[in-house]
């Protein structure tokens, strides 16, 4: 061994360390890759050695190589080895490497769970810190689930250094394991008021991050944050809180009103720019949320805009940038106040800083109006010409298109101008956005019918000059425009002045260099143009010319037939045949134009992109159902080869479509139309309700816009849009003049000069009449489309899972899974949580994610249950139910109490209780509505256990339906029953049990109580007290107080003295019972204790009220410090072997109850779980809240039971045994 060590350290001497590696790489600049690969080989050798120092050194080097881009995931296992070193130095290296290269896909990550848990609980705070830091980078859903509880415990660590890390990492845990949010939230909230500023800041950080995604769930924290905002001096915290308020105000306008004042004060007072900026931002958010009808806030808006203007004018580019950014937020709701700063923003477009220019562009988007659109776009076009970098220019291009097309072309008054702008944009070199321009062209041409004539002319010009666009291969992006141009020219060929010329342009040899999909459109639309040419020639009677055109087509089309692109080839050869056929007809002097045109008859309507999705599935249509019976497998195998041959045959005899005679064609068309008319899925051309207005005048009735001949159409490359600007100005001036004239007539007495000034300003946007009558066709949607917005939601959003209601009281089923063991299933007897581990994990995930759905489901489930109750349910169902039930219950048992949870529990819930053997029926508090059932139940007690369980279930369901917490006796008793007898249905049924025992009683009130340990806090127990009103009067103002001992104290709200009682948070009408919980801190748990206490209350009778009191003694048994904890049988065996445990024994005589009853009782009353049971012998385990192990070996003999016990605290053990003995002596 020693020799090995020496050898190891000698080896180490020749290893490179990180510095050597870096130096080596720097010295091998020429053959770096080769050098590194030899280094990696060395590292691999080092990793094979046993010496952990060598390994750590190797891993450290790997981390460096990872930064250089080398994949080091192959060393994942070695990294884990280094992580598990006991030395901090190596551990830190391991965790660093892991945080750099582990991710959810790393398979060995699951091996780390226990190591991380160990490190988290390390006594050295830096071990814990390093583990937390590492975990924050590679936490997976599994790790999050397994470690959530441990991390939650760390949130209350004594060291602030650990606390703040634990708080921060909780956010990552929530993201990966959303179920942990609710149980952990109360503690997180607590940390908002942590004495350490770092922890506080971390908590604010996490809550802000959570609230940003789902603000509505955090509204209730607003007062707390408000307090923090006014008290904190830490700018980081302030900024976070102010940002958070920005997210909350849209949901709660009242909050906004409250915020305005302190925020305005901060704006005036703070010297920190970052804080000022965030304040302005939040004020903006507040104002947005208040936007309507709050005239008195115009001052705040002015303040913000003013401050922002100062920022924008600042020489610091950062402030300028942020100023613009915030300005764009104001713009959305208060465009007027921003528009007055247009000069400043246009100025920013000239800034040398691209970020600032982009921000200014964003602002422009919101600043355009009908009035200034042309002017602004002109400025932008100038910038497009000047811009040198392609990215910024592309950004400009998209912005121009965005600005113009926003809200359905709202601001465009002259579409000719817009088309010219688009055409001008095609001259941009090397832009990526050709398709964007193309789609705009198509959109405008299709939807703005009035513009088609002009658009077609422009497109024809583009096609004519296509060589300019497509000539340069580098300009490839822009040739997409030709796609649109060809389609528009073809589709609206009736508007073309000279279709032949365009047709010729489209058939030039150069076209074959274009991308395939564009060529395909060319070919298709060439035929449309051909049809147009034929029509014109034939109507003009120029048959010769028509034939020439046909010949030209036959001559040119073969170049496309040869295309390598399948689509082009297919279309071309198909069309070539068609044209040849036409030629034949033409030779026979038949006029064909009408027929050819008919090929393309009908108009295409714009269809909304989502239309297909919105078509509702008609009732009774099941798309997944088989239409015909699926062929059996053997059959299909036999027939497969046959089918191939059969299919081949008809192919040859299939008639060619082109050979159909016209009559047949017409008939088919008619039939198809008929079919379409009857087919609900076909999107008809008939007007849908929302666009009915636009179809009323037919296409022909729309006035075709006269083309302004002053526009030099034929000169490409000359900006023409400027012309429109002038024209537009003139036109507006004219309009204005006209209006003025009208006004003049009306009010002649007014002074001319001031009036002009007036009218220029008061002219609202609506006054600007569009240049031509324009119908903007809305996109079609199928009739009765579903108005759903589902398609806008992203189902993959990880934050959605965190949309969890945090104000609802915590249900037991939601507790964080506490580290559990999986008992072996091979044994005849199940440990209590056999189903828990499995059941708990499966349904839980889905359970919480959609709470709302769950509620609904619960309702329906309940209804089902009701139905079931009426029938005697089939056994199968019952078993299933039971199993499920058992899972839930067991979960309840192993889950633990939480202080905060206990607080929540003091809400008005009415738990029901089950009569027990120990307690006579009348002694048990009941909620009113359930009392009749109770007696019924008593009678039924003798019935089979199945029935009984079902009854429990029933009750539980009822409680659920009332949305009340159901942590009450019957539930637990049943869980306990199952503990011992899960699979022993044939055995005798167990009597119901309760742990609630009498605390005190008088003629007014009765109290029963139960004590439960709190695993998450080793020093606390929770006392649940059920108060029941025994009299016919109203009881109120109940106050619960105990005399604290040194060891055990009642946890009182902060600020209260030790003599103050705790108010019971409810009142009791006659006959009603309710449960309240009180938390006690305990120091030593080895001895049972009794505390004296008093309950004071007011009895309100008809003739006044009297003060009453009731003294009681709270008995803290040692049992109440035990928590049911499941245990593996092998872990149990190991535990027994360890020498730390002290032995004790107990013998119970004259016990004549079935063994499983006995076990169940121990399980239930004393919080044990069965580890293993063989015949009449069983081992049991439990753990105290302070971590003591208690092991029992229970043997049953004739009429007697012997219990051998082991525990690492003899005093605790003897008391527990004493209490067990007590249970059985009093009971039997």
């Amino acid at each position: 061994m020693a020799l090995k060590m020496v050898k190891g350290s000698i080896d180490r001497m020749f290893d490179k360390n990180l510095q050597d590696l870096v130096r080596g790489i720097r010295n091998h600049k020429e053959d770096e890759a080769k050098y590194i690969s030899t280094c990696i080989d060395e590292i691999k050798q080092e990793l094979k050695q046993d010496n952990i120092a060598v390994k750590a050194n190797a891993v450290c080097k790997l981390t460096y190589l990872q930064m250089l881009g080398y994949d080091v995931s192959w060393a994942a296992f070695n990294i884990i080895e280094v992580m598990s070193s006991s030395k901090f130095t190596y551990k830190r290296i391991g965790y660093l490497a892991a945080s750099q290269c582990f991710h959810e896909g790393t398979d060995v990550i699951m091996l780390t769970t226990n190591q991380i848990r160990k490190d988290l609980s390390s006594p050295n705070q830096y071990d814990t810190g390093v583990a937390l830091t590492g975990l924050s980078c590679f936490v997976t859903p599994d790790l999050a689930r397994d470690l959530a509880n441990d991390i939650m415990t760390l949130m209350s660590h004594t060291k602030p250094y650990i606390r703040k890390k634990a708080v921060l990492i909780m956010y990552k845990v929530f993201l990966k394991y959303p179920e942990s949010l609710r149980p952990a939230f109360p503690r997180l909230k607590e940390k908002l008021e942590d004495p350490d500023p770092g922890v506080q800041s971390a908590a604010v950080n996490v809550i802000c991050e959570l609230a940003r995604r789902n603000p509505k769930n955090y509204l209730s924290l607003a007062p707390l944050f408000f307090k923090l905002m006014t008290s904190s001096t830490n700018n980081w915290v302030l900024i976070k809180i102010i940002k958070l308020f920005g997210a909350l105000t849209p949901l709660e306008p009242r909050l906004g009103k409250k915020l305005i004042e302190p925020l305005t004060n901060l704006i005036h007072s703070t010297s920190a720019m970052s804080l000022l900026y965030e304040c302005v931002n939040t004020v903006i958010a507040v104002l947005i949320s208040l936007s309507s009808g709050m005239p008195n806030h115009s001052a705040s808006i002015q303040l913000c805009v003013q401050k922002l203007r100062i920022l924008i004018e600042d020489s610091d580019q950062n402030l300028k940038y942020l100023g613009l950014l915030a300005m764009s937020k104001i713009l959305k709701t208060h465009p007027k106040s921003v528009q007055s700063h247009k000069d400043l923003i246009l100025q920013c477009l000239d800034d040398k800083d691209e970020s600032i220019r982009l921000r200014a562009l964003d602002l422009l988007y919101g600043m355009v109006s009908k009035k200034n659109l042309m002017e602004i776009v002109k400025k932008l076009m100038i910038h497009v010409d000047k811009a040198e970098g392609t990215t910024y220019r592309d950004e400009l291009l998209t912005k121009i298109i965005d600005i113009c097309s926003q809200s359905n072309y709202q601001y465009i008054t002259n579409f000719e101008w817009y088309i010219s702008i688009l055409v001008e944009l095609t001259r941009l070199e090397g832009t990526r956005h050709g398709h964007l321009i193309a789609s705009q062209m198509l959109d405008v041409a299709i939807r703005v019918k009035a513009i088609r004539g002009f658009a077609v002319a422009q497109m024809a010009m583009l096609l004519d000059n296509a060589h300019l666009l497509a000539g340069n291969t580098q300009r490839n992006g822009i040739c997409e425009v030709l796609y649109a141009a060809a389609w528009i020219c073809g589709e609206f060929s009736e508007h073309l002045e000279d279709p032949l010329q365009t047709l010729e342009a489209m058939l030039r040899p150069k076209v074959t260099t274009l991308p395939g999909h564009i060529q395909a459109v060319y070919v298709q639309n060439a035929v449309k143009l051909f049809a147009a040419v034929l029509t014109r020639r034939e109507t003009a009677g120029e048959k010769q010319a028509a034939q020439e055109t046909t010949e030209m087509l036959i001559e040119k089309l073969p170049q496309f037939v040869q295309s390598a692109d399948l689509e082009v080839q297919e279309r071309a050869s198909c069309i070539l045949q068609l044209v040849k056929y036409i030629q034949k007809l033409q030779a026979k002097e038949v006029s064909v134009a009408e027929e050819v045109t008919a090929l393309f008859a009908g108009e295409l309507n714009p269809v909304a992109p989502k239309a297909q999705k919105k078509v509702p599935v008609p009732e009774g249509l099941d798309l997944d159902a088989w239409i015909n019976e699926p062929p059996s497998e053997s059959e299909s195998e036999d027939e497969k080869p046959k089918a191939i041959f059969q299919e081949d045959e008809p192919k040859h005899s299939r008639p060619r479509l082109t050979e159909l005679d016209e009559q047949e064609l017409a008939r088919r068309r008619e039939a198809r139309k008929q079919e379409q008319a009857n087919n609900p899925f076909y999107i008809k051309s008939s007007p849908s309700p929302q666009k009915s207005y636009q179809d009323t005048p037919g296409v022909d009735h729309i006035p075709v816009v006269q083309i302004d001949l002053t526009v030099p159409l034929k000169v490409p490359g000359m900006p023409i849009s400027d012309q429109y600007l002038k024209l537009e100005e003139e036109r507006r001036l004219k309009q204005k003049q006209e209006k003025k004239d009208k006004k003049k007539k009306k009010k002649k007495e007014k002074h001319g000069k001031s009036r002009r000034h007036d009218s220029a300003h008061t002219e609202s946007e609506e006054d600007i009449a569009p240049a031509q009558r324009v119908d903007i066709v809305t996109e079609e949607m199928p009739e009765n489309a579903l108005p759903s917005d589902e398609d806008d939601k992203d189902s993959n959003d990880p934050y959605k899972a965190l949309d969890i209601d945090l104000d609802k009281p915590l249900a037991d089923s939601e507790k964080l899974p506490v580290r559990t063991h999986r008992p072996s299933r091979t044994e005849g007897l199940k440990s209590p949580d056999v189903d828990t581990t499995a059941e708990e994990q499966r349904p839980k995930k889905s359970k919480e994610k959609d709470k709302k759905k769950d509620k609904e489901r619960k309702k329906s489930k309940e209804e089902k249950k009701k139905k079931k109750r009426k029938k005697s349910a089939p056994t199968e169902e019952l078993e299933e139910e039971e199993q499920q039930h058992q899972g839930e219950q067991a979960e309840d048992k192993i889950s633990t109490e939480d202080t905060s949870e206990a607080k929540e529990a003091k809400t008005n819930d009415v738990p029901a209780a089950v009569p027990t053997e120990q307690q006579p029926l009348e002694a048990v508090p009941l909620s009113e509505p359930e009392s009749p059932k109770e007696s019924e139940k008593d009678q039924e007690e003798s019935k089979s256990s199945k029935h009984k369980k079902k009854k429990h279930k029933k009750e539980k369901e009822e409680k659920k339906s009332k949305k009340k917490r159901h942590r009450s006796e019957n539930v637990e008793s049943e869980a306990a029953v199952h503990n011992g007898t899960a699979e022993e249905e044939e055995e005798e049924p167990l009597p119901p049990m309760s742990n609630y025992c009498l605390l005190a009683e008088n003629s007014y009130i009765k109290m029963v109580y139960d004590i439960q340990g709190n695993l998450q806090d080793g020093s606390q127990v929770v006392v649940s007290v059920i108060f029941e009103n025994n009299c016919t009067d109203f009881l109120k103002s109940m106050e619960f107080n105990v005399l604290d001992s040194l060891n055990t104290r009642l946890v009182r709200p902060s600020g209260a003295s030790v003599h103050d009682g705790i108010a019971v948070p409810f009142q009791l009408p006659p006959g009603v019972s309710n449960e309240a919980r009180f938390v006690f801190t305990v120091q030593s748990i080895v001895m049972p204790q009794k505390l004296k206490g008093t309950l004071t209350f007011i009895v309100k009778t008809e003739d006044g009220s009297t003060h009453e009191k009731l003294d009681f003694k709270l008995h803290f048994t040692c049992t109440s410090y035990l928590i049911t904890t499941p245990c593996y049988s092998d872990a149990f065996a190991k535990l027994l072997e360890s020498e730390e445990l002290k032995v004790n024994a107990l013998k119970l005589d004259s016990i004549n109850m079935p063994f499983h009853h006995l076990l169940a009782k121990i399980c239930f009353h004393h919080h044990f779980s069965v580890v293993e049971r063989i015949d009449s012998c069983a081992s049991m385990y439990s753990r105290s809240i302070q971590g003591h192990h208690v092991c029992l070996l229970v043997k049953s003999g004739d009429n007697s039971v012997s219990i051998d016990a082991k525990c690492n605290e003899p005093s605790l053990l003897s008391h527990v045994l004493e209490e067990i003995k007590q249970t059985f002596t009093t009971a039997s």
Binding site: I93, L168, Q317
Partner: protein, 193 residues
Amino acid sequence: MIKAILVFNNHGKPRLIRFYQYFPEDMQQQIIRETFHLVSKRDDNVCNFLEGGSLIGGSDYKLIYRHYATLYFVFCVDSSESELGILDLIQVFVETLDKCFENVCELDLIFHMDKVHYILQEVVMGGMVLETNMNEIVGQVENQSRLEKSEGGLSGAPARAVSAVKNMNLPEIPRNINIGDINIKVPNLSPFV
């Protein structure tokens, strides 16, 4: 949330990379290249914010960077972080490096990448700001180095001696030359309180 922290020099060589979201190695390198490309062509007197590159983030993300002498410190953050706050945080980080390394220069970052990571871990954890108080950060870093020293360090004395011997045999290796001018100058900006 902070999505990534990148430190690279004027030539785009990475000196520290810390992604708080998983990217495969080649993607990481591509992001570094793209970020370097974006940042390096900007003058020193333009603003320190950049709309996120196409690779990292999306519209919600921003690059916030500072340029010190030969190094760029780039933080990629989403909209929940205050822009000016992050600028201050970079300052805090660099000042902390300056304290821990005593006049930090690029070479410190080159040869002690691990240590830089440990310092960063005290500032940012899992993409969230952990501590902004420099004294607290320095204190924790020093405590941990002390702990490491008490354990004997990673490469104990023998290894160091050997590495010295190894280097003696190669006198032509240029060691620690011209570091004088690449000290990162930490301008006196208003500290973040």
